[in-house]
Amino acid sequence: MGKLYDELLKDYRVKEGLKTCINCGTCTAICPAAEFYRYDPRKVMDIVQSRDEEEIEKLLKSDFIWYCGECMSCVTRCPRKNGPGLVIMALRNLSARLGYFVCSEKGRQLYPLTRILTGNILNYGYCVYPDTFKWEDHKESGPVWKWHTEHIRDTMARVGANFKGEGPGVLRKIPQESLDELKRIFDVTGGTERIETVEKFSRAKAEEMGMDMDEYFRETFEHTSGSHLNNDD
């Protein structure tokens, strides 16, 4: 592997997203994450463009790169046509590939995310799916969602969805041959390899933390320590 900066530069999102940054702060000014986390996208851009390997490695192992919500509001405003949000995506990608993500609490959340989202895609063909979107894990979805999922065949039929049905329509069953194609796409494009990498590093980290994988899942999915928010000490 080459140097971290060189690895980043191979990513098209860095080619697109980081030309030259003038540290003006237009990105941070309207960044939702900068307001609610201890986060400053301008500084992330500045570290990457510094090409300081040590600093970039620290960044890849830190919580900072995981605060962004990828809303891309920064892209609209940058006077140098940079995309800090795109650079964040490249940093996260590299952190995942190298296993650095397990070094930070927010990075470790990649494990539950990968399990939930790639699981939904490969099993159902959807990113979000009622069978795995449980009220217990999503109490904010409200009593209405609880009711809806308790009666889902009926409530879906009431509004004309084709829930788990054949043929087209809302939340139809996606044919097995299409799911097979998705699996083969994952296999040839590095999607499967990424899932395995995240799994491998997370397993090692869970062991280090003295947890089994279910405990590790709950821990990374639910737990937040101090120091991320502005009033944390």
């Binding site: 919500g69 891309m72 999503h138 796409i185 994952f186 494009t189 590095g190």
Partner: protein, 356 residues
Amino acid sequence: MIYQGKQKIWADYQKEIPDNHWFYVRSCIRQNFFPGSEKMFLEICRNVLKKDFFETEYHTTCGGIAYHCDTIPQETVMTIVARQFALMTEAGYENYVASCITSFGNYAEIIETWREFPEVETRIRELLWKACRREFKIPKNLAHASDLIYKYRNEIAARAKYRLVNRYTGEPLKVVEHIGCHYAKMFPSKGVGGAEYPYVLCGMIESWGGNVIDYPERRHCCGYGFRQYHVKANRGYSLSNTYKKFESMEPYHPDFILTNCPGCPYFMDRWQYVIAETEGKTYGGNGYGIPVLTYEELASLVLGYDPWDIGMQLHQVAVEPLLDKIGIAYDPKEKYKGLNEKDLMRPELPGVLRCC
């Protein structure tokens, strides 16, 4: 506010939207939380306006949420998207319309990346062939489904049963519009009206009789943030961003909020519930919330569809006060019924947020 100033900007961002013959792809989030909306989109386009919208059961998620949660590499999402394009090509279409804003942004980003770096497109063609033995053409026109309803807004207005007017006062309803971030923030020219003053929803509201409210945090993200919502530990971020928007719009007393992204109405609806339960604060008057509608729901309501047929009962914030203001007829007893009057009980009532 100088309305003509906005009109000048709108005139600069008029994208080409063909009138007919579209290949339709669905949204993961919309299907889960607003299943009636997608059904109504096709109902209005096909049966009311007699347009050709094709859907194949073989299409899948675009992978956008997984991509923006950083769980799949760029090549994976690009190849999934290439497969969707292949399905369009095989069906003989060249206009591609997505129900989801994340998808729409994803498609736009990928097409732009391929344009800028043709070697990436070549590589993805190879990967798609290897995985699926499929080939594709890049869509000639890419639209978001709200672009189409915008395009048809006057035809809908001509057939409308209701207008967005408060029947007690005769005043136009005050409407907040909220645009999904990935609609135009990355590529302002891809959105009707651009990134700063998008017109896609304003056009519908104006055409159907309402007044648009511009409030300070109008452009701010709803706070979805992908991993900031899907991981429970991070949801304070998502909640806080919606809270910021509601605090900013509160002095304007909006009658409802119109959205074009599938996620935003879910978050702005449910976070009102959470804010009510945790902070004791409600925004809609008399303890109610402010209803947050999808553009398909709004189009269906003005066209006179039954609110419970289009899925308004799946909102946490009660829509009845809005229906009453417009004068839309509905039967409260039918709200939580299944087909053929099947009794499905009803959701529990929240502790603070007033619901019907």
